[in-house]
């Protein structure tokens, strides 16, 4: 679906690039042995290095290097065997060194690609320009005291991966799907927990607009620190609209850093002195270049899990799932795990997919639970499918059983047993019920025999009612046909 902004002078296209900051999963910080744990009393997860005491020096955490390489591999990107940490110099209350150790012209990961699964089943490729490692800053609190800003350095020095996309996105929707896809990939890789509420993942969004048909890249604005997928989409919409209105009324877009205000649904320029933003990057002389061998990269590659794109392809080709169903099941690693556990050795893949997508997701959503918190385990859902397959219960009864499983967490066989839901497949019992209904419904029998075949459904209903839904529907139909002739 093409996204267009219709202005007074014509149609506009929006050009979007994203910088996703993803917190690396590690025990300790990028350059110090202090904990990365979220929360904690102020300034307790802070070493003398993190507080930038005089003479303190950084020593890099090997896990963070590995995680960056791992993520690069997941983004199908070029891994740079030689990269350099550089200092980005600026003063701010939450930046104790007054520089951020980051990477500049020699990042650890180069160009890669991310595939977006669009809702219509098509895919879009978004280029990755680079991924680099950098330190997070501390936290400033401006609202605690009338005269002072409070500074907590617990976050200071935690490793982040900045994943920079090419300006390849053309709609808020694509940007949203992109962020979700990045989140999915890093969660598969276990390199970032993807928790946007806690700030483990956040995005800087670059937006510019141009007339449809133009290929120029116009001046862009950067919307900083957007912390949810929804806000990313809203911010793009608001910013693109603003830029179109500005240009159409004779103004010019200035390169700016802006902030998104979700309550007003608008972006506003940050109070910053643009001329002052001269970061004076240079290689950090306290550190040496990061160098590693091809074997190191290969060893990490060997431990990569199957990633969502490959998994999706496999679900389609091996299990015959639709692109949509496959896409839904691979969004996160846990769902894929769950689905495959339900599938077990030889259950019906399509039936299993339907149950996971329609029934399980619905129930989890109603209870606001994640798949890891599901009251029904994959094994239990598998057992339920077995009960359907071997005609112990009908598909309809299975839905009731499933509801009871969600509520109680019991095994399906237990529920079926306890509630006496076992399907009646005993010919004699079904025959008795059929005979009984026929005998008590002479009027309907007459109608049927008079040519009203639709009334057959009424008979089935009566028989199911009489058996509390437990009669095997196939057998009922067959027998009715025989008896009514």
């Amino acid at each position: 679906m093409t996204y267009r902004i219709v202005g007074e002078t014509g149609e506009w296209e929006v050009v979007i690039g994203l910088e996703v900051h993803a917190q690396v999963v590690s025990n300790s910080k990028l350059f110090s042995g202090a904990s990365t744990e979220f929360g904690g009393a102020p300034n307790t997860h802070v070493s003398l290095v993190d507080a930038a005491m005089p003479g303190m020096l950084p020593v890099v955490n090997e896990k963070c290097i590995e995680q960056a390489v791992r993520t690069g591999l997941g983004l199908k990107a070029k891994i740079n065997n030689y990269s350099v940490f550089a200092r980005k110099n600026y003063f701010y209350a939450d930046l104790p060194q007054s520089y951020q150790i980051s990477q500049f012209d020699k990042p650890i990961v180069g160009a890669g690609v991310v595939i977006l699964d669009m809702p219509d089943g098509t895919t879009r490729e978004i280029g990755i320009e680079r991924l680099h490692l950098e330190q997070d800053a501390g936290k400033s609190m401006h609202d605690q005291d009338p005269k002072r800003t409070f500074v907590d350095l617990n976050r200071s020095g935690v490793a982040l991966m900045e994943i920079v996309s090419d300006p390849d996105m053309r709609s808020p929707e694509e940007a949203g799907i992109y962020v979700r896809k990045i989140r999915s990939i890093v969660r598969y890789l276990e390199t970032c927990d993807g928790n946007m509420e806690q700030g483990s993942m956040r995005a800087d969004v670059n937006v510019s607009v141009r007339k449809v048909g133009s290929t120029e890249l116009n001046t862009r604005c950067e919307i900083k620190n957007v912390n949810s997928v929804r806000f990313v989409m809203q911010a793009i919409e608001a910013e693109a609209q603003r830029q179109v209105e500005l240009v159409e009324s004779g103004g010019e877009v200035e390169q700016q850093t802006r902030q998104f205000d979700p309550s007003k649904g608008e972006t506003k320029a940050m109070r910053s002195k643009e001329f002052a933003h001269d970061y004076r990057y240079f290689p950090d002389p306290d550190l040496l270049p990061i160098e590693f061998s091809e074997e190191y990269v290969e060893a990490i590659k060997a431990t990569l899990p199957e990633l969502p794109d490959e998994k999706k392809q496999r679900y389609m080709s091996e299990y015959g799932l639709s692109a949509y169903d496959a896409g839904v099941l691979v969004v996160d690693r846990e769902t894929g795990h769950y689905y495959e556990a339900v599938l077990g050795k030889n259950r019906d893949p399509k039936l299993a997919a339907n149950w996971v997508i329609s029934n399980l997701f619905g129930a989890l959503k109603a209870e606001s639970k994640s798949i890891e918190e599901s009251p029904v385990s994959a094994e239990q859902l598998g057992q339920l499918l077995d009960l359907i397959a071997d005609d112990t219960i009908s598909g309809k009864i299975a839905k009731d059983v499933f509801e009871k499983m969600i509520a109680s967490g019991d095994d399906p066989a237990v529920i079926v047993e306890k509630e006496g839901l076992k399907q009646i497949t005993d010919t004699g019992a079904i025959e008795a019920a059929v005979d009984d209904v026929i005998a008590n419904s002479p009027e309907q029998v007459a109608q049927f025999q008079g040519g009203n075949e639709k009334i057959a459904g009424w008979f089935v209903g009566q028989i199911m009612k009489a058996t509390q839904g437990k009669a095997n529907p196939g057998m009922v139909n067959k027998m009715l046909k025989e008896k009514l002739g």
Binding site: L57, V59, P285, D286
Partner: protein, 496 residues
């Protein structure tokens, strides 16, 4: 008693302590007294006589129970105030860090402590190690104990060189048996030359930089300042060692440096780099350099003329690289977590007020130059260019060291000068013209007192060796020392 004790070398003190001729406490008391008596030289920012006595007592206890830690056990030393020392104010010579008491001990000072040495106090220095005269200290300038016997400066107070001028003056005046210095572009070697002592800058990576207030990270290196070459060998042994807390610390063994003593230079090839001359350099320095070459030849070395063609570009390279790194390293002094704060209406005002008041003129100048050469549009022309030239300078050394073992050159282009003599920054910078190249290449260098100027001031000769080849450096240095027969006078200030 005290006069004798302060006249000892580290090696003699070690032997005397071992022979129980005197105790560490006696040795320390003598030096504590000397420090007090020489206060007019202003060699110390902080004196720590109480801590020194405690350390000396502990040393004597160890000795009594036979647990001597090594050659430095019980040896009184001065610590340059650039080293962070736990519980003792560490100022880096700056108003910015006045009252700053670290909760940690630098690796080098800890190594010395762990070796049993006794810290007498924190030695004065040019602010943040930026300077060549120790006139840039917020705590007042340090005076060189030497006086010119004739000439225009006769009788005037002279500078001890810098930035480790407090250390140099304290060692020369016999206020301590040795002192730590740090050398970024010559800050150990040039004051050693000005003060008539030995100053050794080890290979970059030999001593940990952890806990040393950073000036220019790619150049800073700690080293010993002593009265003899042997003492430098002994003291370096206690300072050096791989430190996992410093990513640039080399994972190499620390050899027994003292084992180089007495080996001589027979069979060594000594290079004389023809480019080590400067405009206006006095003939007496060229003559001394020639004399040094003769001594080495007489001692059995082969003298080879070599060329380091990019030498003249070392100083301009240094004055881009060092300020650039410093501008970033000193950005952390922002009035928030330690040190001076001068309030302001906004965060930026507070930063600007604090940094204007906390940094002296020279430091501000270097921060501004460093900021400029890194700024957008100038980075490639200045910083990248300088780092390319630096590659060439290091390449020059690499190729001559394929042919020779050690290089011999003057340490400084002049003897000590009078205070306030150098009025513009660039002429002050020229003091480091001969020391900066080895710093840029990360090579070990040593200044050995070799003679006197016509006005009776000490002059040093510099030796430079291959990376991590301090042993060969020390062999050549000892030969110069023996041949020169230089006598350090006993200055009245230190006698107590």
């Amino acid at each position: 008693m005290s006069k004798t004790l302060t006249n000892l070398t580290i090696a003699e003190a070690r032997d005397g302590l071992a022979a129980k001729e005197f105790s560490a406490v006696e040795l320390t008391e003598a030096h504590n007294d000397a420090v007090v008596a020489a206060r007019d030289l202003n060699a110390f920012v902080s004196e720590t006589p109480g801590l020194a006595l405690d350390a000396a007592k502990a040393s004597d206890v160890r000795r009594a129970s036979g647990d001597v830690l090594g050659s430095m056990d019980g040896v009184p030393i001065a610590m340059k105030d650039l080293f962070c020392t736990e519980g003792v104010q560490s100022t880096a010579g700056s108003h910015m860090l006045e009252g700053f008491v670290p909760a940690y001990e630098s690796t080098v000072s800890k190594n010395l402590k762990d070796a049993g040495s006794v810290m007498l106090g924190k030695a004065n220095m040019d602010e943040f190690a930026m300077g060549s005269s120790t006139e840039n200290s917020y705590y007042g300038n340090t005076i060189n104990p030497w006086k010119a016997s004739s000439g225009p400066d006769a009788g005037s107070d002279l500078v001890p060189g810098g930035s480790s001028g407090g250390s140099a003056s304290a060692v020369a005046t016999r206020l301590c048996l040795g002192a730590t210095g740090t050398d970024t572009g010559g800050s150990i070697r040039q004051p050693a030359s000005f003060s008539g002592i030995v100053g050794l800058k080890p290979t970059y990576g030999r001593c940990s930089r952890w806990g040393i207030v950073a000036f220019a990270s790619s150049l800073d290196q700690a080293g010993p300042m002593t009265r003899t070459v042997r003492d430098s060998a002994i003291m370096l042994g206690s300072m050096a060692g791989h430190d996992p807390k410093d990513s640039t610390s080399a994972p190499v063994e620390t050899p027994n440096f003292e084992s180089a003593m007495g080996l001589g230079v027979k069979g060594l090839r000594i290079g004389i780099p023809k480019e080590y001359t400067a405009e206006g350099m006095p003939q007496e320095i060229s003559d001394l350099w020639q004399l040094g070459a003769d001594w080495l030849r007489e001692a059995g070395a082969e003298i080879v003329d070599v060329s380091l063609p990019h030498t003249k570009y070392a100083l301009p390279t240094y004055y881009i690289v060092a300020p650039a790194e410093a501008s970033s390293n000193l950005a952390r002094y922002d009035g928030v977590r330690y040190g001076l704060r001068v309030e302001g209406d906004s965060l930026d005002d507070m930063y600007m007020n604090t940094r204007a008041a906390g940094f002296g003129e020279e430091v501000q100048r270097r921060i501004l130059i460093g900021t400029y050469v890194l700024s957008a549009g100038y980075y490639d022309a200045y910083y990248v260019k300088a780092q390319q030239v630096r590659t060439r300078i290091a390449g020059d050394f690499k190729s001559v060291f394929e042919d020779v073992d050690v290089l011999l050159a003057p340490t400084a282009p002049s003897p000590a000068f009078a205070m306030n003599a150098q009025l513009d920054p660039v002429s002050m910078y020229l003091n480091d013209i001969f020391t900066v190249p080895a710093s840029l290449a990360g090579l070990p260098g040593i200044s050995v007192p070799a003679g006197l100027s016509e006005h009776g001031l000490p002059l040093g000769l510099q030796l430079i060796a291959k990376p991590f080849d301090e042993l060969t450096l020390l062999r050549a240095a000892e030969t110069i020392e023996q041949s020169a027969g230089f006598e350090l006078p006993v200055f009245s200030g230190g006698e107590g």
